[in-house]
Each structure stands twice: as structure tokens, then as C-alpha cells.
């Protein structure tokens, strides 16, 4: 059976070159960078190189603006809480977009319990914020604006440079979560007007266990994990040296190969998009159409009349790895907050599937996915009471209304006794 990995948003394999670069740091060069002897000094040098490679990837002026954390989540937490705590006396208000990653949203909600307040900027049906809304949301008490570059679920690219200009005008630092873009799309601290940027090498063929936070020297930030004085006092704890070294090499490769990788994925994205559209009726594509407002890796679709987990499982049984924003795949039984934020009908949110491409996917992969996915949808629709009831005119389609029958939501509410959340 063909094996097609279409979940590059969740993880990527480590490049062979990255693995080879990491190898000596497990056994031979195993020192702690805080040590003053050979073993410590050697790994300090290696960490400096990695910092330079990270800085180069995002056009940062100096490697001293790069902090290493354990992952993207910790970077988000540090950016949000570290800036909030450092500027407590200036104000206790934050602005963020409605489709930020949970690591941003939940950090802000945690601060709310500690006395901060925030304004959530809404997104339109394609997931885009309006820059004017960010401007309106900023108050005299605002100490940070958080708008991510690319959305992890629906691939929307936000107008960051415009947000950056607003923030510069108002004198409020901008934090841009670039976890879903760095290494794939150009990210530049100056073009973005960003005071803080976070990303993780494990999203572009680097190792897990390291996150990056860029911080412009002018932005005040304090530590949120307390202890030793590693990372200039901004992040205590023994550094994950092999992952840092490997992450640096992955950044170097990503920078050099970015144009080629992106073009390759954009082409496959189009092929996949058109293939699925042609093969399967009642499919909705979420987020902007492929083009300047959409990540070239991401495809987010809703298969009407069937649920996402079943699609995901049958894909997996056919060797195809995908993700889903349906409530059934989440541990909290809630649909992705991103799908809720774009106002997607609950029925369509339930049928959600997320496919994210990578540099090693091929045309044949895409064709196999189109063909297999069509079979999977047919099988599951055959098992779905909704498909049958749609065909019999009892309920209507959300995607292509026929004017016959109740809406799915009305129907679901009547059979469950409650309205869908």
C-alpha cells in the first residue's frame, strides 16, 4: 500500500543532514553550555552557530535576539506572559486575533485570571482579520498585539506587515506566531514590524524539543520559567543542545531550499484541490483559495453529510495521514475554534479534514489521495443517515442548497433535543 504523509502541520521527519549534525552532541560533545570547561565551551560555540542560523531565517539583525525554548507552545507562552509581566506597570491589556493557536489564546486567558483584559479581533469567513479592527482594539493600556502569520488549521495568511505598521504607529509591540509559516514562507522581522516572532524547527524537517523566540532588543520581556541564568536570564534550564544544533541546520536548509519547496507544494496543492473538487460532490474548501492569501501547504475541507474522524481513520487504513478539526477527534469534544471563528456551519465543521503537504509528496501521492478519498467518502456516505435523508429531500445541503427539507442543524437539534454547539 502506498503511504502518503499529508500531515506536515503536525510533524516532519528530521533531514538526514540534520540528524548527522545532531549526532555528536549526544555522546561526544555532551557538555552543559553553562560549564566553563572544554565540554561546556564546545557546545556554546555550536549554540551560537544555531542562533545565527535562526536569525538568518527570519532576517534578525543579531543572534543575540534569538532565545531557545522547548517548543512553539513555550515560545507563545513566553512571548505573551513574558511581555505582559514585564510591562505590568504600563498597562494590562492585550489584543489578539480570534484564530490564534491555543498556546496563545490560553496564555491570554490565564492572564485574564490574573487581572489582565484582552480584545479578540474577529476574522471573516476566510479567516482574515481586518487591520482596522486591530487598530480600534488597541487602547492606552495595550502592552502587546498578537497576530499569527499563517493559521495552522485553514492556512490563512494574515496581512502582518499592515498590522506591524499600525503597531509601530501606536507604539505597541507586535508578536507574530510563525509556527505554521517559518521555514516555508518568507518571514522577516523588519518587513513584519514584529517585536517578537516564534517558530519551531520540527515544522520544517528539524527535531522536536526546541522552539525559537525572536525578541527585538527594544521589547521588554521577563522570564516565565525561573531558575538559572541561561538564555540571557530569559529561559532557565539546561539547554537541549542536540535539538538546538539540529534546529539550526534545519533552518539553514529551509532558507536555502525555501523557494523550491514552496513552489513544489503550491503545485501539488492546486492538483489536490482540483482533483478532490472534481471527484467528490458536496465538498467545501475552508479558508482562502490557493493563492497569495493561503499557505501553499494547507488544504482544509469539509465533506458534507459525514463526520471527520471516520474519514481520518479510513484515510489512515489506506496509508494516508491527515488531520481533522472535528469535535470527535478533539479530547474536549469541541470543534476547532478556528472553524467556529470563521462561522462554519456545525455540520461542515464535523466533516472537517486537514491535509498539509510537504517537500517529499509527489504527483502520484496526490492522485492516490484523490482516488482513495473519493472511495472513502462514498463508503461513509453510504453509512450516514444524513446522506440518505438528503437524497430523500428530508434535509438540505449547506454547501449547495436545493431548497428542499430542513437544514442539518435544525434536524440535528430536533433529534438530539439540543442545538449543536
Amino acid at each position: 500500500m502506498r503511504s502518503v504523509f499529508l500531515d506536515h502541520q503536525s510533524s516532519t521527519p528530521v533531514l538526514p543532514e540534520v540528524f548527522e549534525a545532531m549526532r555528536p552532541y549526544f555522546t561526544e560533545a555532551f557538555g552543559n553550555p553553562s560549564s566553563l570547561h572544554q565540554h561546556g565551551l564546545r557546545v556554546r560555540e555550536a549554540m551560537k552557530t544555531a542562533r545565527q542560523q535562526m536569525a538568518a531565517l527570519i532576517g534578525a539583525e543579531s543572534e543575540e535576539e534569538i532565545f531557545f525554548t522547548s517548543d512553539g507552545t513555550e515560545s507563545s507562552n513566553l512571548a505573551i506572559k513574558g511581555v505582559a509581566y514585564a510591562n505590568e506597570r504600563r498597562g494590562k491589556h492585550l489584543v489578539l486575533s480570534a484564530t490564534e493557536h491555543p498556546s496563545v489564546l490560553n496564555s491570554v486567558e490565564f492572564l485574564e485570571k490574573q487581572g489582565w483584559s484582552y480584545t479578540k479581533v474577529p476574522v471573516d469567513a476566510e479567516g482574515l482579520i481586518r487591520v482596522a479592527d486591530v487598530s480600534t482594539a488597541i487602547t492606552a493600556q495595550t502592552v502587546l498585539v498578537a497576530v499569527h502569520h499563517v493559521n495552522h488549521d485553514i492556512g490563512t495568511i494574515q496581512p502582518i506587515a499592515d498590522v506591524g505598521r499600525i503597531c509601530a504607529e501606536k507604539g505597541v509591540p507586535l508578536y507574530v506566531d510563525c509556527e505554521a509559516s517559518a521555514g516555508w514562507l518568507p518571514v522577516n522581522v523588519k518587513d513584519f514590524g514584529a517585536a517578537l516572532i516564534s517558530f519551531s524547527p520540527h515544522r520544517f524537517y528539524g527535531p522536536k524539543g526546541v522552539g525559537v523566540l525572536y525578541r527585538n532588543k527594544k521589547a521588554r520581556i521577563v522570564s516565565i520559567l525561573h531558575g538559572g541564568v541561561q538564555e540571557g536570564g530569559r529561559r532557565a534550564g539546561t539547554e537541549n543542545v542536540p535539538a538546538i544544533v539540529g534546529g539550526g541546520v534545519a533552518a539553514e536548509f529551509a532558507r536555502r531550499e525555501m523557494a523550491g519547496r514552496t513552489a513544489h507544494c503550491a503545485r501539488l496543492q492546486k492538483r489536490l484541490w482540483e482533483g478532490l473538487k472534481g471527484a467528490i460532490p458536496y465538498l467545501k474548501f475552508n479558508g482562502p483559495a490557493p493563492g497569495p492569501n493561503r499557505s501553499p501547504l494547507n488544504l482544509n475541507l469539509s465533506t458534507e453529510f459525514i463526520e471527520g474522524e471516520g474519514q481520518l481513520l479510513l484515510c489512515d487504513l489506506n496509508g494516508i495521514a491527515v488531520a481533522s478539526g472535528s469535535s470527535c477527534v478533539s479530547k474536549s469534544l469541541k470543534i476547532s475554534h478556528v472553524l467556529a471563528a470563521i462561522g462554519l456551519d456545525h455540520a461542515l465543521a464535523q466533516g472537517n479534514i486537514i491535509m498539509t503537504l510537504g517537500k517529499d509528496n509527489t504527483d502520484a501521492d496526490v492522485d492516490y489521495v484523490v482516488e482513495s478519498f473519493a472511495r472513502i467518502v462514498t463508503k461513509l456516505r453510504g453509512m450516514s443517515p444524513m446522506w440518505d435523508e438528503f437524497e430523500r429531500g428530508i434535509i438540505d445541503s449547506v454547501i449547495a442548497p436545493t431548497g428542499r427539507g430542513k437544514s442539518f442543524s435544525e434536524h440535528a437539534a430536533s433529534v438530539s433535543g439540543k442545538s449543536a454547539h
Partner: protein, 147 residues
């Protein structure tokens, strides 16, 4: 990868991949369709009843793997039972027969119980002469939640 890893145990996976009794019954004696408020799943069970006994049961499910497996297993279990036996059916039987479900998925088995009981209710509504029979059984809604 040589091995295969599964989200659910092999019985659940088997019922998901090869569901038993999937479909609708033409001229069913009772049909129940219920939805789970928790996650939005919808399940429909139709029954063929003869001489106070369930002769055939079919399901259709809009829901996750464990919802499909639960309805497949529930229809398997219920076939051949008398109406009053069926009225005492509990989701725990489904969970046990499936060899367990992840805690967050127990509600799928509850949905199967609810769909079955809705179908029985429908049958009784259509056949009021059987109401006495049903009254003797457990009231609908008394659901055993596994802990």
C-alpha cells in the same frame, strides 16, 4: 512501518471497518434517530419486530469510528431479543462487547442505546397494544454511564 497501530482495540476497529447490519430496513416496524448533544453525532436504528421479538436491526450513523462500531455492535446484540429484554438494554453491554471504549467515547455507546430505545418507542407508538409490555421494562432514559 511493519506493525499497524490502532486508535481503538481490534474489536472496535473490526466493527468500524466491517460494520454489521449497516443500512435501513424497508417497512421497518420501528425507527429511532437520535443525536448526541455533546459532539453532534447522529444515529438511526430501524427494527423488524415479529411476535414481540426483534427479528432484524439495522443502523446508519453520522459519527466517529466508535459511534459506527457502537451501532454495529448494538444491532448485533439486540437481534433475537424480546421487546422487554430490549427495553432493558444498556450501553454497558455495548462497551463490554466491544472490549472497552476510550473514556471520552463512552457517549457513543449511550447514543446506540438511545437510538435503540427510540426505535422501540416508535414501534410501541405504532402498536399501542404492546404498550403494556413495555411499561414493565425500565423507563427510557435510565442510562448506565460507564465510569
Amino acid at each position: 512501518m511493519s506493525d499497524t497501530y490502532a486508535l481503538y482495540n481490534s474489536t472496535v476497529m473490526d466493527h468500524f471497518m466491517n460494520p454489521r447490519n449497516m443500512g435501513d430496513i424497508r417497512d421497518a416496524d420501528g425507527v429511532g434517530e437520535v443525536g448526541a448533544a455533546a459532539c453532534g453525532d447522529i444515529m438511526k436504528i430501524s427494527l423488524k419486530i415479529k411476535d414481540g421479538r426483534i427479528e432484524d436491526a439495522r443502523f446508519k450513523t453520522f459519527g466517529c469510528g466508535s459511534a459506527i462500531a457502537s451501532s454495529s455492535m448494538a444491532t448485533e446484540l439486540i437481534k433475537g431479543r424480546s421487546i422487554d429484554e430490549a427495553m432493558n438494554f444498556s450501553n454497558q453491554e455495548v462497551v463490554d462487547a466491544l472490549g472497552g471504549l476510550p473514556p471520552v467515547k463512552i457517549h457513543c455507546s449511550v447514543l446506540a442505546e438511545e437510538a435503540l430505545k427510540a426505535a422501540l418507542e416508535d414501534y410501541i407508538k405504532k402498536h399501542p397494544e404492546k404498550a403494556a409490555l413495555a411499561a414493565e421494562a425500565a423507563p427510557i432514559g435510565q442510562i448506565v454511564h460507564a465510569t
